[in-house]
């Protein structure tokens, strides 16, 4: 079975790996990108970026860039979903449906009543949905649910109004009237343990900072914590990149040491500006990709991998399906390993990336940390 192609011609994987390494080493500033659902692939991709003097990015990083910005500019008091499930007697859900794409977390939290904490124990959870007019997926959950309507583009304003209300400060007409705002602020303050849940990919950095500020203000006297949700693999990939490179992706190794820049190292920008002249990309997309803009090495899970204009193509297995994977599990708030669903011959993208990195490492630093 063919698993590697050069210019559309089937080749051995060894040949393809050598060609990929050659292409990357000849490139001025290669882009190493993709979705990296599997942290193993990310760890190896970081080595590829390091050895080839390239830039490491994730195709979805833009979705969590505001969260990353808010976390490192301001900080936050945050909580894991398991603890929300057991302890939060009052939950403020910000946005129309922050649990879209995070259904498992929704199940985990709202399937039961809170049972920890002397004050929360035995009572039903109170849930306020800030945003939608209808309870939506909350119509079936345990607990008392009510909605407070708020347009999506005014959620940040609403949080600001709650903070002003909590602080006894004046504010003008906003998403809801003054009495309701002050009442909602009081409701949060009187919780045994309040949780504020939001979709971090829907709010801008300042709004996330506002949520963090509201939680911080609440904690002056009571307990409250924030739960940012980020559906998909990108937040986990950013976490993984931090220990390997020091930064949450968008990190360049052109000068050896890692250099981070959310704008200048954005993969899409690098390709459109022409600053990157080659690319290695990990794709779980089943459709053909147009990658003719720069010489591209494509690692694809597609049944018949096709990359319009790809120089080198590797067919890879699906992580957690064809081979085991390590990924960030939002319910757990940390990394877990998942075994393969079945044992097949499909190649692990991490192994290919690792082989390319070894090949590059051989050329550059014969004595570096090449794995035995």
């Amino acid at each position: 079975m063919t698993t590697a192609w050069i210019d559309g011609q089937p080749v051995s994987s060894g040949e393809a790996i050598r060609e990929a390494a050659k292409l990357l080493s000849m490139s001025r500033l290669p882009l190493v990108t993709g979705r990296f659902d599997d942290i193993s692939a990310l760890r190896e991709a970081a080595r590829v970026a390091g050895f080839s003097g390239g830039v490491l990015d994730h195709s979805d990083l833009g979705r969590v860039a505001p969260l990353i910005e808010a976390l490192r500019d301001n900080g936050i008091i945050r909580i894991s979903p398991g603890e929300v499930r057991r302890r939060a007697d009052r939950v403020l859900v910000v946005g129309a449906d922050p649990f879209a794409g995070s259904e498992a977390v929704f199940e985990q939290i709202f399937a039961v009543d809170p049972d920890l904490g002397a004050k929360a124990k035995g009572g039903q959870r109170e849930i306020v949905l800030l945003g939608p007019d209808e309870p939506g997926r909350f119509s079936e959950v345990k607990g008392h649910v009510r909605t407070v309507g708020c347009p999506a583009d005014q959620l940040g304003d609403a949080i600001g109004v709650l903070r002003a209300g909590l602080g006894g400060k004046p504010f003008g007409d906003g998403p809801f009237e003054e009495g309701a705002a002050r009442a909602l602020a009081g409701w949060l303050k009187d919780a045994a343990f309040a949780a504020i849940v939001f979709d971090a990919t829907e709010l801008d950095a300042i709004s996330i900072e506002s949520v963090a500020g509201l939680v911080s203000d609440l904690n002056a006297e009571t307990r409250a914590s924030a739960l940012p949700l980020t559906a998909g693999s990108v937040y986990g990939a950013a976490e993984g990149a931090i220990w390997v490179t020091g930064f949450p992706l968008r990190t360049a190794f052109g000068r050896g040491d890692p250099e981070h820049d959310m704008m200048l190292n954005d993969g899409a920008w690098l390709i459109s500006s022409g600053e990157s002249d080659a690319r290695i990309m990990l794709s779980y997309d089943e459709t053909a990709l147009d990658v003719a803009d720069v010489p591209t090495i494509l690692l694809s899970t597609a049944e018949e991998p096709a990359g319009e204009g790809a120089r080198v193509i590797f067919k890879i297995g699906r992580p957690g399906v064809d081979h085991p994977m390590v990924h960030h599990e939002p319910r757990f708030g940390s990394f877990v390993s998942t075994p393969a669903e079945h044992h097949g011959m499909a190649t692990n993208a991490a192994d290919i990336l690792s082989a390319i990195a070894d090949q590059l490492g051989k050329a550059h630093h014969s004595n570096d940390e090449a794995r035995a």
Binding site: K119, R223, G333, A372
Partner: protein, 546 residues
């Protein structure tokens, strides 16, 4: 292949050796001298140099969720961050797993223990450890604020059941030992308790910090885990209450071994108009009198750093002193934690006295096998400050110079200027090699006897001890030369040391149900699979005590 380290001054207190002799390495182990002199394939001239076992750091936060959060929180202190001005104390750490390994190796360290791995962050911690080159690593898993343990104590479950639970956790998380951090404090904080001490009860559970600690201490001892329960006491850093907590905990050891971490942060009294004074002498005396207790220091050094702790309650309180003024606090199952940046200033009375209290403890605790060399990296200071601390311990003149630079008001409040003791090379070797290996139960290291793992550091003597210990002349890891003249020359991957143990199957199925029902989590997520780490030999097992 036989390698001979020839003619070095071998300082190996574990084997009572302090003399010039040759050391032979074969297949990654230290071997007896061959019958035929000169049969070595390779000879490394160590004449005039000091040869010791590779150093062991028993308490350094080098991996795991909280450390990674600190990296996320402080991009501006990263050395290589684009357009950042200036070098910073913290930037020397490098802030990546790779640089962590390189920096430790350059100083002659070969084993480092990450002391605060939450059960939930076990795979994360091991993934990071797997990416740290050269050194061997180990972890201590954190219990003591978890619903399971507190419920078991409340419900009066048997010692065996509790020991089974502890062993399951150690086994699943691939830990080497157990740590307890402000027992019950994080759980109490979730119920909005802001003031908490050794005999305070955790609301809703009705168990006290003392009960939790004693239960864990017994379980660890019963299970045959070599490293005694590693304790982070209540009220860390609180003047007065911290010293009370340390004293109460030491008195509660009651003849069973107990290790108290970063004891410096507990040496704080409330005298003087600032309400901050040294309890260093009293605390050292108490430790000297209690031979079942070991401690590490958590020395404070001046400069920008970041505090990383699973003591959520104290980290929350520490937010007020955050510098720069941002922090991340985590409410989680069990401990949670917090990451709070800190800038210890030489000109601050409080910081300067913290520095002095650490050194008082180092120098007044008499037995170098019961006091360990740590900065609680990065809490008191980054581990890259170690060479300076060696110099402070070994050279009274160096101490005098540092004291001169402090605010005058500090001298009145510390006995440090009067302390004459200077650590000897043998004492340094005891504190950083022989004793930690014994404390961790890792008998294959910490000494240079036949059969030991060939982790060997060689230093070029220098009157400036910071220079001497800052850059090893050679470092051998498993017999491979990895450092030469203070620079890394090879980057093999080490392993994580794990406890060889098996947990009870019944406890396994009980916990499968428990995690699912209580938290909606799968218990398998807590289990670290070696294959997930992508290293050929990710672990080396350390036996339990029989």
């Amino acid at each position: 292949m036989l390698t001979c380290l020839k003619g070095g001054h071998v300082v190996d207190p574990a084997n009572g050796i302090d003399e010039v002799r040759d050391i032979f390495i074969k297949d990654g182990k230290i071997v007896d001298a061959p019958a035929e002199a000169g049969s070595a394939n390779e000879t490394v001239d160590c004449s005039g140099m000091v040869v010791m076992a590779g150093a062991i750091d028993i308490h350094s936060h080098i991996a795991g969720g909280h450390v990674n959060t600190a990296r996320l929180l402080l991009p501006e202190w990263h050395r290589a961050f684009s357009a950042r001005p200036g070098e910073t104390a913290l930037s020397k750490v490098g802030w990546t797993t790779k640089e962590t390994g390189l920096r430790y190796a350059e100083m002659g360290f070969t084993t480092v223990v990450e002391p605060a791995m939450g059960p939930q962050a076990a795979l994360h911690a091991h993934l990071e450890l797997a990416d740290i080159p050269i050194i061997d690593k180990a972890t201590l898993v954190v219990l003591g604020n978890d619903d399971m343990l507190m419920s078991m104590i409340r419900d009066g479950e048997s010692d065996e059941a509790i020991a089974d639970y502890v062993l399951w956790t150690v086994d699943a998380s691939k830990a080497l030992g157990v740590k307890c951090i402000n027992a019950g404090g994080s759980a109490a904080f979730k119920e909005n308790v802001r003031s908490y001490a050794f005999d305070t009860e955790v609301p809703d559970y009705g168990v006290s910090s003392r009960q939790i600690l004693k239960t864990l201490q017994k379980a660890v001892t019963d299970a045959g885990i070599p490293h005694p329960l590693h304790v982070h006491c209540n009220n860390l850093g609180v003047p007065g209450a911290s010293a009370d907590a340390a004293e109460a905990t030491i008195r509660a050891s009651e003849g069973m071994p107990l290790h108290l971490a970063h004891i410096q942060f507990y040496g704080y009294g409330i005298e003087g108009r600032r309400g901050f004074s040294s309890k260093g002498e009293e605390l050292a005396r108490l430790i000297n009198e209690n031979p079942d207790v070991t401690v590490d220091i958590g020395q404070v050094m001046f400069g920008q750093t970041v505090t990383i702790s699973s003591d959520e309650m104290r980290q929350f309180a520490g937010r007020a002193q955050a510098s720069p003024g941002k922090s991340i606090i985590m409410d989680q199952e069990a401990n949670g934690g917090g990451v709070v940046p800190m800038n210890y200033k030489e000109k601050s009375f409080f910081n300067a006295l913290q520095w002095a209290i650490g050194l008082e403890l180092f120098l007044l605790i008499e037995d170098p096998s019961r006091v360990f060399f740590t900065t609680d990296h990065p809490n008191g200071a980054p581990f890259t400050t170690y060479p300076d601390i060696f110099a402070l311990l070994m050279d009274r003149n160096v101490r005098e110079k540092w004291i001169e630079a402090l605010p005058k008001s500090v001298k009145k409040w510390t006995s440090l200027p009067e302390i004459e003791r200077e650590y000897t090379l043998a004492e340094i070797a005891t504190m950083t090699r022989a004793a930690p290996a014994k404390l961790l139960g890792t008998r294959d290291r910490g000494h240079l006897g036949s059969g030991a793992t060939a982790d060997i550091s060689v230093y070029r003597p220098n009157d400036d001890k910071a220079k001497m210990f800052g850059a090893a002349a050679y470092l051998f890891k498993d017999g491979v030369k990895v450092v030469e003249n203070g620079a890394v020359v090879a980057k093999p991957y080490g392993r994580a040391l794990t406890l060889k143990t098996h947990s009870d199957a019944k406890m396994g199925s009980r916990l499968d149900r428990y995690f699912d029902e209580a938290y909606g989590l799968q218990s398998r997520w807590f289990k670290v699979e070696g294959s997930a780490l992508r290293r050929e030999t990710p672990f080396r097992e350390v036996p339990c005590l029989s």
